[in-house]
Amino acid sequence: TTRTPEFLGLGQTTETIPQSNSESDVIIGVLDTGVWPESKSFDDTGLGPVPGSWKGACESGTNFNSSNCNRKLIGARYFAKGYEATLGPIETSKESKSPRDDDGHGTHTASTAAGSVVSDASLFGYALGTARGMAPRARIAAYKVCWVGGCFSSDIVAAIDQAIADNVNVLSMSLGGGMSDYFRDSVAIGAFSAMEKGILISCSAGNAGPSTYSLSNSAPWITTVGAGTLDRDFPAFVSLGNGKNFSGVSLYRGNSNAAPTTLTPFVYAGNASNATSGNLCMMGTLIPEQVKGKIVMCDRRGVNARVQKGAVVKAAGGAGMILANTAANGEELVADAHLLPATAVGQQNADVIKSYLFKDPNPTATILCQHPSWVVRGCRPHWTGDRCETRGVQYYLGDVNVLSARERASGAAEGAHPEWSPAAIRSALMTTAYTAYKNGQKLQDVATGKPSTPFDHGAGHVDPVSALNPGLVYDLTVDDYLNFLCALNYSASEINSLAKRSYTCDKKKKYSVRDLNYPSFAVNFGSRYGGGTTSSNVVKYTRTLTNVGPPGTYKASVTSESQLVKISVEPETLSFSQANEKKVYTVTLSAVGSVPANAVNSFGRVEWSDGKHIVGSPIAISWS
């Protein structure tokens, strides 16, 4: 967070967006592992009284009492009944039965969202600068719902229930379960009620890619935000005994003398273990005699924390670690604050290194960690999540979590535009997002290094400054969402569960998910235009734009990478003479000719512009 605000155009000390008192009236409720109130990120210097609308509380418990709250951290509650009902009483010797965060994740998410300005923040000297949340004047209310054993849905619903009663303005959740129908999804259900109250709900997308269909929290009344990367790198190079060099990333900043400066014996973890999953460097799986004094290559692939893998190597006497991405992570590199000299490498480099490792009878390697640098390619330094972390780290390097950016923008937007609905705020964030860098290069898919698509980046990277003044928005009401549920063929009972009301879908009305006034377009043509999602080779979308800027005339433009589908917009010009004026337009997608058997996804874009504003929407086309 010493870099993220600048990356997002927010500036470090001089705000692009004027700090208004209304921003300090914004209350962000964070459902997570609780909060560590002593963090400087929760310093309340300069903040006025707690907003009069606030009805929350600061609950007491293990190592936490009401005096831990202040004008920054204005609320803290915990919810453990569901957890205890399943896993038994909380062992207070292991975790605090209170809002206190024993884990770090909740403190991390709360402070990246709305942490106060903290000067001279660094991680072992790395990324020294001023750390701050994206909405540094917003207030924070922590709702602890995640414990050592997980985050149980009955506790999550209870926390959402309470947060609504407490009068939060934004609900932020970096958690989720698998994909399910919305009427079975506790987060989606709770979020629906919050949305009705005008609360903006921001949820993490899960970051479970690059596998397909791995998105979480996709209900359209939720603002679903994926984590991206920014332009700060932490290079750490690998040199092999055969003279080849490879780049990786690392935040290792321990004893510099500990880093092997000369070629050191190198071993693959899977060959230094008797365990079937020895390659993953799980606790107690490495054979010390085969590891001692060597650099060890471990496979990432999850299961245990990345930093813990290094700790396992260190405990076995290893001199260093190279963490190899597998297909599960592709080329996505995450710089970690390792406990021993270590670096992470992408799958392609990993495969080459392994090839050397397996073929050379006496493989050797060195690791060279360098200081951070600004480069186009990004990395994602993050909260370590390692329970063996004992270094008393207070500030992790900037988690490039767009969620935080959204909260910054939403905090400012709510302050600047308190009349905007959650859908309008989401629209502003989506339609002003960018999909190419200033040098014209498209955003990259970190898994492949290739240009990303809307299936990877959604609407794009958030631009909080532009989002404050989007020109036009795609607004939505509760009725629009109810019609969407009808389009999903939900039963009356299912709709009642989700929306807390009896709502009867009109049997005479033809509902379509395409009618939801959402700032994006997706169509699936059945093969040969017969089966599949649409049986027609012509698909129409109707959208309504609301003017939230000055009077103006907007012209439509369409781009498409596919010759198989013709895209048109009618009318091509929309004129707005006053604020809140609404105009309707139609997008028509017409399949042209026959579809090759191997047709793949294709993408396009619709943009409306008056010369000052660009209101963009992605188009995704698929064939089944």
């Binding site: 054993g149 009955s154 209870a158 229930d161 309470q162 958690l175 109250k197």
Partner: protein, 88 residues
């Protein structure tokens, strides 16, 4: 006591969604109605949370059989088993 223990071991937390608009007029408050509905399937089960804002309903521990029975009670929209979510 043995029966209770056996049930406890076999029970799971469920979130029960209620159609609040269908509450019989004989009840003064929805919590009484929720409790009454719950008691039709279990004398010992207690409401863990009562939800008013996020959903209409409550959470409780039930055996699968009790959950199935509760699902068929008037005004009960759904009885969903507890899910464990993960941090992202």
């Amino acid at each position: 006591a043995a029966a209770v223990d056996k049930n406890d071991v076999a029970s799971t937390t469920y979130i029960v969604h209620m159609a609040k608009s269908e509450m019989p007029t004989s009840f003064d408050h929805h919590t009484h109605w929720y409790d009454s509905s719950l008691k039709t399937v279990s004398d010992s089960a207690e409401m863990m949370y009562i939800y008013s804002n996020a959903i209409h309903g409550f959470s409780t521990k039930l055996t699968p059989e009790q959950a199935e029975s509760l699902q068929s009670q008037p005004g009960v929209l759904s009885v969903l088993p507890e899910l464990n979510n993960e941090l992202h």
